[in-house]
């Protein structure tokens, strides 16, 4: 049980974090006792599930959870949940309780509203309750109750800048995070609008609007609610590559942006990746919903061991470390590479042959007698497809030939 160490500790927008793992706004932070259990288990902080003014009608439907799988493995989870059924007054009460019970933890709130008055009322009440940080959901995939119905707030550059400005105006010194969606034409423009608004940071990014599947027996979309369905917010491992791109793109364009990473981070390895593209810390929801708060021990010990092994003195040193190697396509070096068969490791399955024949460049020859592939150096362009289908590590390799 590591949970905390000098390496894992950091300061995030003025708030002390004993480790970089925060429970993101969602079901795991929607009941006081569940939230307490998460903090007791070792999570560094919580963002309580998005709250609203009592005038906001939160009309939930059940069932709300679904997934798409490969065999028994859940690749992605979908939900048609909405924001918390608990309104501002209850959340203010809980903030006070948690602040007094867990003085060393980050106790944050998430909010959503539909007017300047609404956003600012929420902020002021939470500020009075001495909340550590406010996150604003500009990106709930189940629809926005704000300025531009049917569209997420963070899909509009001007609306984002305007509303973020209102929030920051009311929050004053209290740090504010804006939680964005990756489903936009230009993520840089959205991030720019947030920075312009003087909000303190960005949570990148939310779950993604998706249709989870169709039951081909009844030809009904999933999840089914009395024979009907709607779009879900997709989360879990499937969206991690999108999260990485979103964070990387913001970090590359705004070196001073403060980012809290969220979306598809399931284990310490994922968290290293997200930190390496510029997030300062990690928010997790789906992995906890699937495996419980107990994953915090592996997250913290795994990350700490990684930092020791790689010679990092603190998690902060890791932030953005992969970014210098991320360039645009036209900036990539152009070298000639070729595949090579490592004969001692080849088990003779011929998958590389099939893939190259039908999806590559017909650049692999096949010796039927010895069951051995051979690269045709003239035809191989080094696309690397064969390496994707190799069944054993290292039976194929790419080598530079110029």
């Amino acid at each position: 049980m590591i949970l905390s160490s000098s390496r894992l500790r950091s300061r995030f927008l003025g708030v002390e974090l004993e480790n970089p793992f925060i429970l993101s706004a969602g079901p795991s932070t929607d009941e006081l006792d569940i939230t307490r259990a998460g903090l007791d288990a070792g999570w560094a902080g919580v963002i309580l599930k998005t709250t609203s003014l009592p005038t906001t009608d939160v009309d939930l439907v059940y069932p709300m959870m679904s997934s798409f799988n490969n065999g028994d493995d859940i690749l992605g989870m979908g939900n048609i949940d909405l924001i918390s059924i608990y309104h501002l007054e209850e959340i203010v009460k809980r903030i006070s309780i948690l602040k007094s019970e867990y003085p060393g933890k980050m106790i944050a709130a998430s909010i959503m509203s539909d007017s300047r008055e609404g956003w600012q009322t929420l902020v002021r009440a939470l500020k009075d309750a001495d909340v550590d940080l406010i996150e604003c959901s500009f990106s709930c995939p189940q629809g926005n109750v704000g300025e531009d119905p049917g569209k997420m707030l963070a899909q509009s550059v001007s609306a984002t800048e305007k509303v973020a400005g209102w929030v920051k105006e009311a929050a004053e010194e209290l740090p504010v995070l804006i939680k964005i969606t990756p489903q936009v034409t230009d993520i840089v423009a959205i991030a720019g609008a947030i920075l312009k608004s003087k909000c303190d940071g960005i949570t990148a990014s939310n779950s993604i609007p998706a249709l989870m599947g169709i039951d081909i027996d009844s030809l009904t979309p999933i999840p089914q609610v009395d024979g009907y369905s709607t779009y879900s917010g997709l989360s879990g491992g499937a969206i991690k590559p999108i999260t990485l791109r979103t964070i990387a793109e913001i970090s590359r364009n705004f070196t001073d942006a403060t980012i809290s990473g969220n979306g598809g981070i399931s284990n310490w390895r994922d968290s290293v990746e997200v930190l390496a593209v510029g997030a300062s810390n990690i928010q997790i929801c789906t992995a906890v919903m699937l495996h419980g708060f107990g994953i915090i021990e592996d997250l913290t010990s795994g990350l700490d061991n990684y930092l020791i092994e790689k010679g990092f003195n603190s998690v902060t040193e890791l932030v953005g470390k992969a970014l210098p190697k991320l360039v645009s396509h036209e900036q990539l070096p152009r070298h000639q590479v070729r595949s090579a068969v490592i004969k001692e490791k080849c088990i003779g399955c011929g998958r590389c042959y099939i893939s190259c024949r039908d999806g590559g460049h017909i650049a692999i020859k096949w010796d039927s007698v010895n069951r051995l592939p051979d690269i045709d150096e003239e035809k191989c362009v080094g696309c690397g497809l064969c390496l994707l289908v190799q069944p054993v590590d290292g039976c194929l390799s790419l080598k530079r030939v110029d």
Partner: protein, 423 residues
């Protein structure tokens, strides 16, 4: 149960989710090799990666169909085919971790087989098939697929040959056998049971071509003194009676088996199954020299069969016309190799001892008792034009799936012959 699992079940069967999960998991491990070695080592040439891919996608009907198209005895082979010497032994995945359990996937797919429409013959040609065993049935179905009608002659009252007469019931149930027999019946094949054909050439009056697939029925004689005692039984007689459950006389008896091959293990396990008090199998070499399948050894050991290695029978001991025991001698392996490449055993003088026994079953192999004057050639033709042959009669003791291969290949050869003869 998820969609794919639901798709996998086409027929009601005793399957739980764990089975279905296993099938999907095992299927997903298949590497779908190019020029798949498993398929190349299946005598029936079942497109193994293809059927496994269809299992994985929940397309179980197609998986069953491509197995059945390649192997008309799909159910029987799914139950008893020795995967350890054929498909599975060559599985590339075995070089990574564990080979795919191909026979079990085959067996599952076949168990979910759907309705197969009947096929009727359209050609005027008629072929006679002698023997309703695996080779004969495979040949008849493949001919029917090509529109050629055949009549299958069978000297016994039963269709199926070795699978339905002498493979122990605990290895192969009547239910499984009937799936394959029902399949062949869909082709409108005519069976003439209880009909022994003494002279195949007489059939040319009615037929354009003849396929001999009688199998083997003549026990190899051991030359052991006193083998004429009535308590010394040939393996085939015993197995046929055991399969028909007419075998009360073995209950509580001490049984000694002379053998060392797969059939001797079948006999041994079957004897225990039918109530023998003890079964000792005599084998003149060691376990390493036994050319048997692991599944057969497992079945025998599971039933507490004792194998006495490096032991050879010398004579059967007789008192007042009854068998009382087997005089044996210990053997050792010499450095000399026999034609099979195995070290030759030699007796160790002075090590004679007696194993008390009530019954001896000899299982050292089978010869043909049918028409040895006709010579079988490897291309399925024979020394007589228009007569073809396959299966054990032509090639010596083999497996069911090899007999299926012969039946299929002979059907091709017969079609070519009829085409050339313009019949």
């Amino acid at each position: 149960m998820n969609m794919i699992q639901k798709n996998l079940i086409k027929k009601s069967a005793k399957l739980d989710i764990a089975d279905l999960k296993w099938i999907l998991h095992e299927s997903s491990n298949c590497l779908s090799c190019f020029e798949p070695p498993c398929q190349q080592n299946c005598p029936a040439e079942i497109p193994i990666p293809e059927f496994i891919r269809s299992l994985q996608s929940g397309n179980v009907g197609y998986a069953a169909k491509i197995i059945r198209d390649a192997n008309p005895l799909a159910a029987i082979c799914g139950a008893v085919c020795p995967e350890e010497v054929f498909c599975q032994s060559q599985c590339t995945r075995g070089k990574m971790d564990n080979p795919i359990r191909i026979r079990e996937l085959h067996s599952f797919a076949t168990s979910q087989e759907g309705y197969i429409p009947p096929v009727s013959a359209s050609s005027d040609a008629k072929v006679a098939i002698i023997g309703a065993g695996p080779a004969g049935l495979a040949c008849a179905t493949k001919l029917a697929e090509k529109g050629i009608k055949s009549v299958v002659y069978e000297k016994s009252k039963r269709i199926g040959g070795v699978p339905s007469s002498s493979i122990p019931e605990f290895r192969l149930s009547d239910e499984i056998i009937s799936l394959d027999i029902e399949y062949t019946k869909r082709f409108g094949i005519e069976f003439r049971l209880n009909t022994k054909i003494d002279d195949p050439e007489e059939l040319f009056d009615e037929f354009d071509a003849i396929f001999i697939a009688t199998g083997l029925a003549q026990p190899v004689e051991t030359q052991i003194p006193n083998s004429n005692l009535s308590q010394v039984i040939p393996s085939l007689d015993f197995l046929e009676k055991a399969r028909a459950s007419n075998i009360n006389e073995i209950k509580t008896k001490r049984v000694v088996i002379v053998g060392g091959g797969n059939v001797s293990l079948d006999v041994a396990a079957s004897a225990m199954e039918h109530g023998a008090s003890e079964v000792i199998l005599l084998y003149r070499r060691g376990l390493a020299e036994m050319r048997v399948w692991q599944s057969e050894l497992d079945a025998a050991f599971k039933r507490s069969v004792v194998i006495s290695y490096l032991t050879a029978p010398v004579r059967y001991i007789e008192e007042s016309g009854r068998l009382t025991g087997v005089e044996c001698i210990r053997t050792r392996l010499t450095s000399e190799r026999d034609t099979s490449g195995r070290r030759k055993p030699e007796s160790i003088p002075g090590t004679e001892f007696v194993i008390p026994a009530d019954i001896v079953i000899e299982a050292i192999g089978l010869n043909s008792d049918y028409k040895r004057e006709i010579t079988a050639f490897p291309d399925y033709t024979t020394s007589i034009q228009g007569i073809f042959s396959g299966g054990d009669w032509a090639k010596g003791e083999g497996t069911i799936v090899e007999a299926v291969r012969d039946g299929k290949s002979a059907a091709e050869a017969i079609c070519n012959y009829l085409r050339v003869k313009k019949i």
